[in-house]
């Protein structure tokens, strides 16, 4: 299944940006159908969303699939959330402060938050959540942020004090995660049986929506929480329909069976949704997403240890062609791992243009020449340069990228073939043990620029994320510094330098950052694209009374 990295709902939030990010260019593809007269917010209507996989469970802290996080993000809430510019904003915490040494983080909680069963939300729940997450019996995939905490205390019902051993840049972001109810889960957490608790089938959270029903394999239904501390959301009901095939989801969209799709493909956006009835029924949006696709080298392969070879590859690849061919132009060229438009991004790095002649020259410099006239370059022993481009099955974009790159490599004398491997096998047999030559993969960049786990030399183990095997002591130093500072102006410097070095070292060829292309039914008002996407203000979306389609009150 395609691995998406875009986290659309603020289950994870971002570290305080002291400087507002420059607005990213997000365009609204709109017709002026929504007249002002019918524009008054009204309660009601049902919002239907397609979900490509069934949810893995109703305690998203324990799952890793996107569907359960989307659903969970509405049922549960965290102490902070993302606002439209990707800054941190209060959620269940009304304020927070750092001690000057960046080691103590104190949250002041709102006093009016209630669990869906009426029980009040207090600091005890926060402490409980922390303890549960670090408990070795809890099968939670994402605990790293909590493991760095030294301790958590609740001096009173509405104050939480978190202590860290070392300054941790993403500290506040960690507390945007789902808070769990102590009064319901205490015994299960202690016994390590969270997955069997009733919470996993009838969850109680503090979020804007309450759980109503889950028909496995079919749908999940949520209803608006009238006691939500920011006021009841306008849309009364949300239904996630499980439709396991992208093609079918798209067909359902055309048949107006769903109200929202988180992203279209490039082709769908530009060629398949341009007819009048679609444009009338839906609004299309476009904003830069936070994941990028790359062509990664296995730096242990002696051929790629030579930087000239890597640079040759970079020149052999035509990024614009990839963007045009795979995304139909709906992506931005990537020259580094940080998302354009965010505060840590810089453009002042080495660029490698499409230049096959230069590529051939570089290869020749590195000892690869076509010595026997067969169109393939060989080294001085006559061994031809052949390789296998690997990527996972089921991802149309990566497959097309592989096909285009294969052709371009052929033109500079490198003979590549392609292997699409089923995901589990791919990860287990090739990625983890680093048994690959080159891969086409994607990475999500999250909301904080810290990418320690991807680039630090300590992260090259089989279960870790430094897939290319990259190691550069200066980058290591910068990563560590960036992580442990809580002063943004300092961090900016570190991350700029990291991007420069990465562009020089070329452990991978960064291909592009795709644009997210969401579609929302036109009867829904309040959608306003921003750097954070469109879902950040979901509880403010509404359908004017006269246009409500599924009345349920």
């Amino acid at each position: 299944m395609p691995r998406r990295r875009a986290r659309v709902r603020s289950g994870l939030a971002v570290l305080a940006a002291l400087v507002l990010t420059a607005g990213c260019n997000a365009s609204v593809d709109n017709r002026a159908e929504d007249t002002v007269a019918a524009d008054t917010p009204a309660y009601g209507d049902t919002f239907i969303q397609a979900s490509i996989g069934d949810i893995g469970g109703l305690i998203p802290s324990l799952t890793s699939d996107q569907s359960s996080h989307e659903v969970g993000g509405l049922i549960y809430d965290g102490l902070i959330k993302l606002d439209k510019d990707l800054n941190m904003a209060p959620a269940m915490a009304e304020s927070w402060t750092y001690s000057p040494d960046c080691l103590d983080l104190t949250f002041k909680l709102r006093k009016d938050v209630k669990w869906h069963d009426g029980h009040p939300f207090t600091a005890d729940d926060v402490v409980f959540t922390y303890q549960t997450m670090i408990n070795p019996k809890t099968p939670a995939p994402f605990k790293e942020g909590f493991l760095l905490v030294k301790d958590v205390q609740a001096p009173d019902q509405y104050t939480v004090r978190v202590r860290y051993d070392k300054p941790y840049a993403r500290a506040v972001e960690t507390w945007g995660t789902y808070m769990l109810p102590k009064h319901l889960l205490e015994s299960f957490a202690a016994a390590g049986t969270l997955r069997e608790s009733p919470q996993n089938s009838r969850p109680v959270g503090t979020g804007p929506y309450r759980f109503q029903e889950w028909k496995p394999g079919e749908k999940v239904v949520l209803t608006a929480n009238p006691d939500f501390y920011e006021g009841r959301p306008y849309l009364s009901r949300i239904v996630y329909r499980v439709i396991p095939s992208q093609a079918t989801i798209f067909l359902e969209l055309k048949a107006q069976g769903v109200d929202y799709v988180s992203t279209l493909t490039g082709m769908q956006y530009s060629r398949q949704t341009e007819y009048p009835s679609f444009r009338k029924a839906y609004h299309k949006f476009r904003y830069p997403a936070s994941d990028y696709t790359f062509f990664g080298f296995n730096l242990k392969d002696p051929r790629f240890a030579d930087r000239r070879v890597r640079e040759a590859f970079a020149h052999a690849i035509n990024k614009q062609e990839l963007i045009d061919g795979v995304r139909l132009g709906l992506a931005r060229e990537a020259n580094g791992p940080i998302r354009p438009g965010t505060w840590a991004y810089t453009d002042q790095v080495a660029h490698y243009d499409y230049d096959p002649a230069k590529a051939k020259a570089l290869l020749e410099e590195a000892g690869w020449k076509d010595r026997d006239g067969d169109g393939v370059v060989e080294d001085k022993n006559g061994k031809p340069f052949t390789l296998t481009i690997r990527t996972n099955q089921g991802n149309d974009e990566r497959k097309k990228i592989a096909e285009i790159i294969q052709q371009r490599l052929k033109e500079v004398g490198v003979n590549a073939d392609i292997q699409l491997i089923e995901w589990a096998a791919f990860i287990k047999e090739f990625v983890k043990p680093r048994r690959f030559e080159v891969v086409v993969l994607g990475l999500g960049t999250g909301t904080d620029p810290d990418q320690f786990v991807v680039w630090h030399s300590s992260q090259r183990g089989p279960d870790q994320m430094n897939r290319t095997g990259y190691a550069n002591p200066e980058v290591d130093r910068l990563l560590e510094a960036g992580r442990s500072s809580c002063v943004q102006s300092e961090r900016v410097r570190y991350y700029h330098r990291i991007q420069e070095i990465l562009a020089e070292d070329l452990p991978m060829v960064f291909l592009y950052f795709r644009d997210a292309l969401p579609v929302v039914a036109s009867r829904i008002h309040g959608v306003s694209p921003a750097p954070a996407g469109i879902l950040y203000n979901f509880d403010e979306w509404y359908v004017p009374k006269m246009q409500q389609r599924y009345t349920s009150g």
Binding site: T265, M267, R271, E403, I404, L420
Partner: protein, 295 residues
């Protein structure tokens, strides 16, 4: 009475076969398809694997008779090259299946007893396995390539032939028991090849001819699910898969390869049925004849 496979027999077979218009038509189409497949490198107007992002999903035109695919490649060329894959998969996997089936069926039928039991249990085992699960699991295990697909389809399709061959052996054994006890020791293999197999050839041939379209359809299905030959190589199934997401704006990606599959499978089926019908009286006569072989 003539021995099976004699000239008189073959002539009689042809007479019956050629009277069946559908079968003859099918046969002609099969020959055309094979020719096209073999000549594909000569006939294809464009490089089937070369992407061209300026020509994405263009409808059929003068320069691209069947349009282009999502990477700008010529569909006609891909369909032509795809026919080579279908041909290969069809013949080779059926060949493998037939080989295994003949060997196992002969072993079971000839030796009987424990061997027969073992083989039949194996057949049962294979038949009980949900075929798709097996294909899936194996393809997850191995790297899908044209060879693994052919082998896997062959390995999961031999049961019918095995049963057939075994049945022939059993039938003939019953009736030739006397002969057998006389020729025991004197070239069992000879008995098998000279007397038994020729009678079995007819139904095996039919099974194979009908197995080819089945194999082609299976390969198309696997390619459609993305489990087939690796990119960029074209097969009809994976062209269909490539066009699946764009079906309403690129009907040519769906229509032509699907049509190619349809015509190919149809023709093979017609031929196979024709052969079966034409051999039918042969079957009966050969059985009757076998009774008389034991002079």
């Amino acid at each position: 009475m003539a021995e099976p496979g004699s000239r008189g027999e073959i002539r009689a077979f042809w007479r019956t076969f050629s009277r069946n218009q559908l079968a003859v038509g099918g046969g002609a189409v099969v020959l055309i398809l094979v020719t096209l497949a073999v000549l594909a490198p000569v006939l294809a107007p464009w490089d089937p694997n070369r992407p061209d992002t300026k020509k994405i999903l263009m409808p059929p035109s003068g320069s691209h008779w069947l349009g282009t695919d999502p990477l700008g490649r010529d569909v006609l060329s891909r369909v032509l090259y795809g026919s080579r894959v279908s041909l290969a998969v069809g013949f080779v996997s059926v060949g493998i299946a037939a080989l295994i089936g003949v060997l196992l069926g002969a072993a079971a039928g000839y030796h009987g007893g424990v061997v027969d039991n073992l083989v039949m249990r194996l057949v049962d085992l294979m038949l009980v396995f949900p075929r798709f699960f097996l294909l899936l699991a194996v393809l997850a295990f191995l790297r899908p390539s044209i060879w693994t697909i052919m082998t896997v389809i062959g390995l999961t399709g031999w049961m019918g032939v095995a049963r057939l061959v075994r049945a022939e052996f059993l039938t003939l054994r019953e009736r030739e028991f006397v002969i057998w006890s006389e020729s025991v020791g004197a070239g069992a293999l000879r008995v098998i090849f000279r007397h038994i197999l020729p009678n079995a050839v007819a139904p095996i041939l039919v099974a194979m001819t009908l197995g080819i379209p089945a194999a082609i359809l299976t390969e198309a299905g696997l390619s459609f699910l993305g489990l087939g030959v690796q990119p960029p190589y074209a097969t009809w199934g994976n062209i269909l898969n490539d066009g699946r997401d764009y079906i309403e704006i690129a009907w040519w990606m769906t229509l032509y390869p699907g049509l190619a599959i349809l015509i190919t499978v149809l023709s093979y089926n017609l031929v196979g049925e024709g052969i079966r019908d034409a051999l039918d009286p042969r079957l009966r006569q050969s059985r009757g004849r076998a009774v008389r072989v034991g002079r």
